[in-house]
Symmetry: C3
Subunit: 345 residues, 3 copies
C-alpha cells in the first residue's frame, strides 16, 4: 500500500487546480459509484451527473466546465481521464520485481541476464537472449534463442517469445501472448499446400502493451513491425509482415491479416478485422465489428457493422438484402415508366 497523498501534493506533481480543501487525504482511486471518502474519482461524461451527485468519494478530478457540478474537493484540469490515470499510477506503482533467477528457471549459458533482472520460476531463456535492466520475466515464460528484451519490460506468466525477436523498453506483455510464431505462409500446388519458411522477425518498439493471448507473427521474409507506444488489447492477431504505426491502439479480438500497413494514431475497434495487403493512413478510426477490405487513404472514421434488431425484424429485413439488386431494378423500371408516362402525358 503506497502512502496517502493530499490533493495539494497531487497537483504539485501533475498540475491542475485544486478547488476546496487541498489537504484532503487520498489513499486510493475509486469509481463514482463505489469510491469511499478516502478515495478520489473522476468525472468526464455529463450522462454520469446523477452518479457524481451521489458519490461518496473524497475528491473528484474533472474539467473546468464541470467544476460547479459538485461541492466536493476537486482537481480541475484539461484532460480529467488522463489526469486520473496518472493519479492512479502514483497510488498504484507497478509492483517491483525481486531481482534474480529462480532456481527452477532454465537459462542458457550464453544468455545475458543483468543482475537487476528477474527470471521467475520455470521460465526458460534460450541461448544468446539479452534482457535489459530490471526486466521481469514471469513464471513459465519461454524466450527463445537470440531474442532481445528492453529495459524495464515486464512479461507476465506464460508468455512465449520465439527466436530472434526484439522487444523495446517498458513493454508489458500479458499472459498467453505469443510473439514470433510462424506467419501463415502457404503456397498452393496441385491441391496441396507448400510451407513458405517464415524467416523474418517481430520487432516491437518502446512503451508497447500487449494483452492476454494476443499473437503477433514473425515476418515471412522481412520483419513484422510494431512501433512505439502501440497498445493492443487481448486476443488480437497481427499477421506476418504487418506494420502497426506508433501510438495506434487496437481493441480486443481485432485482427490484421498479413502484409497490411496501419498508420500512426489509429484506433481499431473490438472485433474489427483488417484484411491483408492493405494500407491504412494515419489517424484512421475503425469501428467495432467492421471488416476493412480496401485500403484507406483518408483519415476519418470507418464503419461496417450490421445493425442488430429483434430477430423477427432482422429476418424480415435481412431477407431483402439478398434481393437488393432486384429492388433497385424494379425502382429503376418504375422511374422510367413514371417519367415516360409524364412525358407522354
Amino acid at each position: 500500500m503506497p502512502a496517502p497523498v493530499t490533493l495539494a501534493q497531487i497537483a504539485s506533481r501533475l498540475g491542475g487546480r485544486v478547488v476546496g480543501d487541498a489537504q484532503t487525504l487520498i489513499r486510493q482511486v475509486g469509481s463514482l459509484e463505489r469510491a469511499r471518502p478516502d478515495q478520489i474519482t473522476f468525472f468526464t461524461h455529463s450522462r454520469y451527473k446523477a452518479r457524481l451527485a451521489a458519490t461518496r468519494a473524497g475528491a473528484v478530478v474533472l474539467a473546468a466546465e464541470a467544476e460547479a457540478l459538485t461541492a466536493l474537493p476537486r482537481i480541475v484540469c484539461e484532460n480529467p481521464y488522463a489526469y486520473f490515470a496518472r493519479v492512479s499510477q502514483i497510488l498504484n506503482p507497478a509492483e517491483p520485481s525481486q531481482p534474480g533467477v529462480h532456481s527452477s528457471a532454465q537459462v542458457a549459458a550464453s544468455a545475458r541476464i543483468p543482475a537487476s533482472a528477474c527470471v521467475d520460476a520455470g521460465a526458460v531463456i534460450g541461448g544468446g537472449v539479452a534482457l535489459g535492466e530490471r526486466v521481469w520475466i514471469g513464471p513459465g515464460c519461454v524466450i527463445e534463442e537470440r531474442s532481445v528484451i528492453g529495459d524495464d519490460s515486464r512479461l507476465y506468466a506464460s508468455v512465449v517469445v520465439n527466436r530472434d525477436c526484439r522487444i523495446g523498453a517498458r513493454a508489458i506483455l500479458h499472459s498467453g501472448v505469443v510473439i514470433g510464431a510462424d506467419g501463415f505462409g502457404i503456397a498452393s500446388d496441385g491441391g496441396r499446400w507448400v510451407k513458405v519458411p517464415q524467416i523474418g522477425r517481430v520487432v516491437i518498439g518502446d512503451d508497447v502493451e500487449i494483452g492476454a493471448n494476443t499473437t503477433i507473427d514473425r515476418g515471412a521474409i522481412d520483419d513484422t513491425i510494431v512501433e512505439d507506444g502501440v497498445k493492443l488489447d487481448n486476443q488480437i492477431q497481427i499477421g506476418h509482415n504487418c506494420r502497426i504505426g506508433a501510438h495506434t491502439a487496437m481493441a480486443g479480438f481485432s485482427g490484421v491479416a498479413g502484409s497490411t500497413d496501419i498508420g500512426m494514431h489509429c484506433t481499431i475497434g473490438a472485433a474489427a478485422v483488417i484484411l491483408g495487403h492493405l494500407k491504412i493512413v494515419d489517424h484512421v478510426h475503425v469501428s467495432a465489428g467492421t471488416v476493412i477490405s480496401r485500403s484507406i487513404h483518408k483519415a476519418g472514421t470507418y464503419t461496417g457493422m450490421f445493425p442488430f434488431d429483434e430477430n423477427a425484424s432482422w429476418a424480415r429485413n435481412t431477407a431483402l438484402v439478398r434481393h437488393l439488386s432486384d429492388l433497385a431494378r424494379r425502382l429503376r423500371d418504375l422511374e422510367k415508366r413514371v417519367l415516360k408516362g409524364k412525358e407522354n402525358g
Copy 2:
C-alpha cells in the same frame, strides 16, 4: 472404466420411465450413428428419425412424443438431452486427482494447500494463495499472489490466474485460460496513451466452466464479476468491469467489451460481440455473428448477421447497401410524383 449399469438402475437414480427390457446393460453413451449395442444414445430432433431407425445402440433416451419411433429399450423422460448428460456423468465420472504437490511444482511458503488438493508438475503457486479441498491445479498452471480457488475446482494445464482473484467451487478452467490480466485501460493524452492501473479483481462464482484460451480481465477500479453457473466456451474475451449474470452461456469467440452488464439466463452466440458500457437484461439471446451496439431492455432474441450468398450475388446486392439512402430518396420522389400525378389527374 466405470461399471456397467442397467436401464432400471439408471431410472432409479435419475427418474424417467423404462420401456422395454429394463435389464439392458449399458457400458457407455454413444451417438445415434456410431453407438454399439452396449451403449445408450438419445433422440431429440425429428430430423434425426432416419438415424434413430438405423441406430445400433442398445437403448435410447427420448421424450414421450417420440416413444413410438423405436422398438429399442428406452427411457422416456421430459428433457432427454439433460437426462442423457446425467447418464453420461454416471458412466464417465470426472477423473479423480492424486492428492499432493509434485516435486517440480513451486509453492510459496505462505500458500494454503489442503492435503486433498493436487498441484501438478511445474505449477507455480504464489504467496497467500488459498486452494479449497480437492482442488486440482494442472501442470504448468500459475496462480499468483493471494488468489483463492474454491473446493473441487479443476484447472487444466497452463491456466494463469493473476493476483488477488477469486474463483468459486466446482469451477472447470480449461488450458490457456487467463484470469485477471490487466483490462484495456488507456487514456489519450496529446497523441500518447497513458496506462490506467487496473486495480480491480476478477470474482467468479460457483459452478462456472471456462473454455480453452478464454480471457477475463481484472477490473479497472471495481471488480469484474462472473456469477454462479456461467458457462463460457473457448476463445472468449470478457473486458474489465463486466458482470456476466448467473447461468448465462456464451459460445466460442464471443466477446464483451468493458463495463457491460449482462443479465442472468442469457445466451450469447458464437462470434457475437457486445460493446462496452451497455446493459443487457435477463433472458436475452444474442444470435451468432451479431454485434450488440446498444443496451437491450427487453428479453428476447436479437440478431444482426449479414446473410451470406454466392459471391457474385453478394457483390451485386451488397454494392447497393452503400446506396440505400439514394434508393430510399428515389422511392420517396417517385411516391410524391405518382401521388401528385394522381391528384393532378
Copy 3:
C-alpha cells in the same frame, strides 16, 4: 546458415528453366523491395511490376508470361510462389532438434520416448504417451495421458495436448495451441446447465500445421477429425465433433462450431465463422468476415461481409437496412398504383 546455391543447382533439384547466368550464387530469399544481390525473390502479380523493375535482388522466380519483364537472372516455372517456397525450404531447412530429454522435463515412466526425440525444458509427458521418431516437444508443453504424436512432428513452446488425442506425422503446432479441451456441451435443465461429459478424442492426420493459440476441442461422444494436410492459422476455434477435410486451409480468427463437416480443399477466410451442425462440400471458399449459417451443397465462393464506409454514410445507409421491408412494401404499392394507373389510363 545453409551453404549458398547456384540457380543451376536449384533448377536441378526443383525443375524450371534458368534464364541468364545459371551460376548466380544465392544465399537467401528476399522480398522484391528489400532483397540484396545475393538473394532470390519472386514475382507473381502484375501490380508489382514497378517493384520488379526496382528490385536489387540477384535473381527472380517467375512465370513464362512475366519472363521478359526483367533482365535479371531468373528461373521460369509454372507456379512461381510454390517454387519460391521450395527454394526457401532449401535455404532455410527446419532447425534440427537436439535429441534427448531435458533434465527439468517430467516424463511418466510409461511414456514411450524414442532416442531420436527431443523433450525440452519443463515439458510434461503423461503416462502412456507415445512420441514418434525425431518428435520435438518444446519447452513447457504438456502432453497428457495416452496421447500419440507422429514422426517428425514439432510442438513449439507451451502447447497443450489433452489425454487420448492423436496427432499424425510432420505436424507443426505453434505456441499456445490447445488440442482436446472439452467441447462446449451443456444441456439446459430448468434454467441451469448440465455438463455433458466430452468423451471423444481429437484425431489429426499427417502434415497438419496449427497456428498459435488455436484450439481444437475433443468430441462429445465421437471424435473431432482434422484430416491430412489441413493448415490452420492462429486463434482458430474448431468445435467438438467437427471434421475438417483434407488440404483445407483456414485463416486467422476463423471458427467452426460443433458437429460441422467441412469438405476437402476448402479455404476459409479470416474471421469467418461456420455455425454448427452444417455440411460444407469440397472446394468451397468462404470469404473473410462471413458467417455461414446454412449448409453449402455446391462448390464455389460464398461471401457475407458488410461493406464498410465512412461513418456518416454508413449510418445513413445502415439505418435503412432495418427498414428494408418497409421500402419493399412501398415499392410494391407504387408498382401496383402505377400499373393500375396505366391500365386505367
